[in-house]
């Protein structure tokens, strides 16, 4: 079972390695991790996707909370959250295929952010499923390079984590 954790941490050097080290030493698996500063410049927010049963999740949460630099840990997965990933996909393209690629991008509300004689780069945001879907469709043209951020997430409605 996958869980999305929003982890508020002190915006200090070394905090990322503390969190990463905790996961590896306790044998928890991270599916993805994204980190950035929040509305408060002293606080960073990590969005960590982990898989494991309830026991594992409980342990991960408690162990994270034990780190002095961790301020708050919330499990915000499921329907209660808006979740997004971003991917940049560089596909092979020429005069014959360009139009079709643009069409696919349109359907996914993706954007073309770079065009060259033999390639195009598509920027797409969405949940995991959407990104997988567009990746699958673009594969027929030849994907030269692909980069994805980890997932980020916010709870729906006015409440903060």
């Amino acid at each position: 079972m996958k869980h999305t954790l929003a982890v508020l941490v002190e915006n200090k050097s070394g905090v990322l390695s503390r969190v990463a080290a905790l996961f590896s030493r306790r044998g928890y698996n991270i599916d993805s991790l994204a980190v950035g500063v929040t509305e408060d410049p002293d606080i960073s927010r990590m969005t960590i996707v982990v898989h494991g049963d309830d026991h594992v999740l409980e342990q991960v949460t408690k162990q994270l909370n034990k780190l002095v630099d961790v301020i708050k840990v919330s499990d915000i997965g499921g329907d209660e959250a808006v979740e997004r990933e971003l991917a940049l996909i560089k596909v092979s393209a020429d005069v014959n295929t360009r139009a079709e690629i643009i069409q696919i991008a349109d359907i996914f509300r993706a954007r073309i952010v770079d065009v060259a004689p033999k390639s195009m780069t598509v920027e797409v945001t969405g949940d995991e499923g959407k990104i997988q879907a567009i990746e699958k469709l673009l594969r027929q043209f030849g994907i030269k390079e692909l980069v994805r951020t980890g997932k980020i997430a916010l709870t729906r409605g006015p409440k903060k984590v």
Partner: protein, 562 residues
Amino acid sequence: MTTGSTEKVNGARALIKCLELEGVDTLFGYPGGQIIPFYDELYDSDLRHILVRHEQAAAHAADGYARATGKTGVCVSTSGPGATNLVTGIATAYMDSVPIVALTGQVPRFLIGNDAFQEADITGITLPITKHNYLVQDANELPKIVKEAFHIASTGRPGPVLIDLPKDIQNTEIDFYYPDKVELRGYKPTYKGNIQQVKRAAEEITNASRPIIYAGGGVISSNASAELVELAEAVMAPVTTTLMGIGAIPTEHPLSIGMLGMHGTRYANYSIQESDLIIAVGARFDDRVTGKLESFAPNARVIHIDIDPAEISKNVKVHIPIVGDAKQILRSLVKHVKCCNSAAWLEKINGWKKEYPLTYRKESEVIMPQFVVEQISEACKDAIIVTEVGQHQMWAAQFFKYSAPRTFLTSGGLGTMGYGFPAAIGAKVGRPEKTVINIAGDGSFQMNSQELATVVQNDIPVVSVVLNNGYLGMVRQWQELFFDRRYSYTCIKGSVDFVKLAEAYGALGLRAEKPSEVRPAIEEAVRSGRPAVVEVIVECEANVSPMVPAGAAINEILDLED
């Protein structure tokens, strides 16, 4: 305390002022190039510094000081090899939740990351074995960091904190200001237990017919022994302790059933298996305690009192968790419990106690190691006992009669050979009025025997009783039982003459070779008031018994008294 005013001092001097304001009286350390500025300021200060002969010993001594006194121990080293030599001591303190602050020199900031001479990434190295650590990057932050370090080390679940001090930081002038409180939004330990949980627990305890209290090191570190005994007496529940919990209840107390687990008493292991309610206090259901988890205490409900929420239901499913300080929770628990349905249960346990006492083979010519521990117990009733790691450690746990907390210091979690002697130094420095005895093995003692120089130079009269069996005995025991007596590299007979070794350093050396010589040698060593080593030639193939093989259920007990 002059915490409000400011004054211009360099980083090294600032650090000393911080230590003084934290109430530190003694440091254990070893100097080197990147910590010289600190040592230079130390030269003029009133702080006592014990110069060890290996940094590992500085960390263990700080740990022994902390366990014996309840205060935070402090150790100091230089960068690189000095800092890496602290690592085993820091890991030992981490595993047993002991409050120490380790101060390490570091190369100047402009060299960090350059593979400079004697540079080691000690904050990286100690990440998994410290409660928290700091690399000081701004001299002005030093006082705040020291304040936080002592706070973090000593509160909540205690543990080691390391502060890495680049040399240029030690030399930088700052306006000294010591904050009087810490503000750590990510660190707020819970002390007061939830009262609803306490009431639910009290009700279960009152209704239980086969309750058992299982006490761990948390009872010692929260100074909750008196409250623990009060609860036990209030509900007439038997008390078993872990290795770390020894001293939480006097060995001779009628409700005490000794240690449980791999080398626990039969009656403690039978009791926990048959109990209907386990009241775990400051203990963590370690594998050496539970044996095979699936068959551990099959009919028991579990109340778990612990300051660390991450310990709740980590290994064993807990029905009533109470997170907070053991002392406060036990106090409020006692107010809500009523006595008790345990008479038949206690009778059953007393039957087991009579049927399966801790015993050993009695010999008239050879000295049995258990006999030595009994002799120490009779000769030095109120001593602080420190141990190394191995068979002698288990015998010290089984055969000494403890009467107070903080009188049994041992490396439980990490099982560090070489811990005992330096930890005994720390204990004696912290509690000079106490007799401090290090019960050692011949293998372990050789791991830090260089500290004989430290005890002689600083006149620290600890007595090490070396149970010389000529073997790395605990490993030999496993080889005997599980590897067909193939004693692969565990025989260390003829290592050294321990008496001459002691004498070479200027300590008192004594030897006992017959049972009748044991007591007089121990008494003479204690009476001498000098640092001493008593080498006792013991039966070489004695085994620690009873024993639950690793991975077996804890009532599947082997009897090894041949």
